[in-house]
Symmetry: C2
Subunit: 257 residues, 2 copies
């Protein structure tokens, strides 16, 4: 039995985004300008705790990979006893993962990646701070560019300090540049459905560039050559069905959720 | 009684630096090029877990503010029962701090700062990855520029991805630019002691620019006008005594620890 030391940290809030499910969430922040809202849990929602934050354009979010399969399994099996949980975390440690960026076949070390399957299921994302809102004395932060599924638990926020955090000359291994964008086309059926949904106010026309951009990033689990298969993605109020043919993304259907 | 949800994360290793004590540790990473070593705890020390990391020039470290006073008090009072610990964290939440950057008088929100007195006592630092060493099948990472006291517990490392993490145009509130550097002079006594320590191999001449740089950043808790007072700092194998007069740092004494 392997035992490691551990620390317990509170969840200070939850992040709300139009990403209803993990599928479709971009693999890094700021690739798609979706709007999100952070709601804080008391006592962390007091306006005083955010004074001075309005001077910063960007924020770091440290959040929990709460849809991590291992985590779910562990808490279901073990209950909330943290001692058992930790032991299990060390015992179930898998040192390598297959990043989608490398086609899903090549393995690399988990610490050379930002994979969710890591000892501490913590994610790190930089987002734009749009505005700070106070409703009934409670703070909500409006953010842009989160790569988080709706309901993600938040552990901490820190202001982005350009002089120490921005290292433009950093060499970034296999993640050298932003992922390439695929062309996105609508089939005739999908185009018609899109116009219907807009006229019914299920879909707003502001959301179209977001949906196209998410698909242009190719949200499939790993690059696949199977051009026959269709994929489904939920985003805000709609379901989108799409397929990929010779690097082109075809939106085949868009319907209300 | 306030109760919040929480998560427990393992400590995967410890960071070793020449910063013997908190006093003197720079307030952001990469201000002083000190060398550090990360030693990982089993099972997180396997070389396979680091494969591919050699392609990255910089790393994020997520670490524990283990010298946080509140934390110490809480764990002493409460034992290791995490339920009580969390309750206490929420109850002892102080929404504002006085950052040294603003002279130690002005208060701002804890979430507008990187203060250690925050709900989750987690720090975030970017460091340079110098090299990966494997000794007896266990990984050690050599890093440069850590702003961490010796023995800091490590929660996670993530590769620095320039295309998403580097935002040079970010606006950074009151932390707009790197802290100004003060001129540093040695008194005659300190100069003589320095030469003695070098000849006795207690001090290496490579360490002198590091010591001068740490002092140039003015490590005092908050800017003070009291020119009479002396301050002591321990660094690696030496103790340094210094004073400040009209913005000039005077090294008055350097002795073996």
């Amino acid at each position: 039995m392997v035992h490691t030391a551990s620390i317990t940290v509170p969840i200070i809030g939850y992040v709300h985004t139009p990403y209803v499910e993990k599928f479709g969430v971009p693999r890094q922040p700021n690739l798609v300008d979706v709007e999100g809202v952070i709601e804080f849990v008391a006592p962390y929602d007091q306006p005083a705790a955010f004074e001075g934050l309005e001077g910063f354009s960007h924020l770091w979010l440290i959040w929990q990979f709460h849809q991590n399969r291992e985590l779910k399994k562990t808490s279901e099996d073990m209950g909330s006893n943290s001692e058992l949980h930790e032991t299990s975390a060390a015992e179930s440690f898998r040192p390598q993962i297959r990043p989608p960026r490398l086609g899903g076949n090549e393995k690399i070390g988990v610490f050379a990646s930002r994979s969710m399957y890591r000892p501490a299921p913590l994610g790190l994302s930089v987002v734009r701070l749009d505005r700070i809102e106070v409703i009934d004395g409670r703070v909500r932060l409006h953010i842009i560019g989160a790569d988080l599924v709706d309901g993600t638990p938040l552990i901490d926020i820190k202001p982005y300090v350009a002089y120490s955090d921005s290292i433009s000359a950093a060499v970034s291994g296999f993640a050298v540049e932003a992922p390439k964008l695929h062309p996105v086309y609508w089939t005739r059926l999908a185009l018609w459905q899109k116009h219907q949904l807009i006229s019914l106010h299920v879909l707003s026309s502001n959301q179209l560039p977001l949906i196209e951009r998410i698909l242009a990033l190719d949200p499939r689990p790993a690059y696949q050559s199977d051009g026959q298969r269709d994929y489904g993605m939920s985003f805000d109020q709609v379901n989108v069905r799409f397929g990929v043919q010779s690097d082109v993304i075809w939106i085949k259907e868009i319907t209300a959720r």
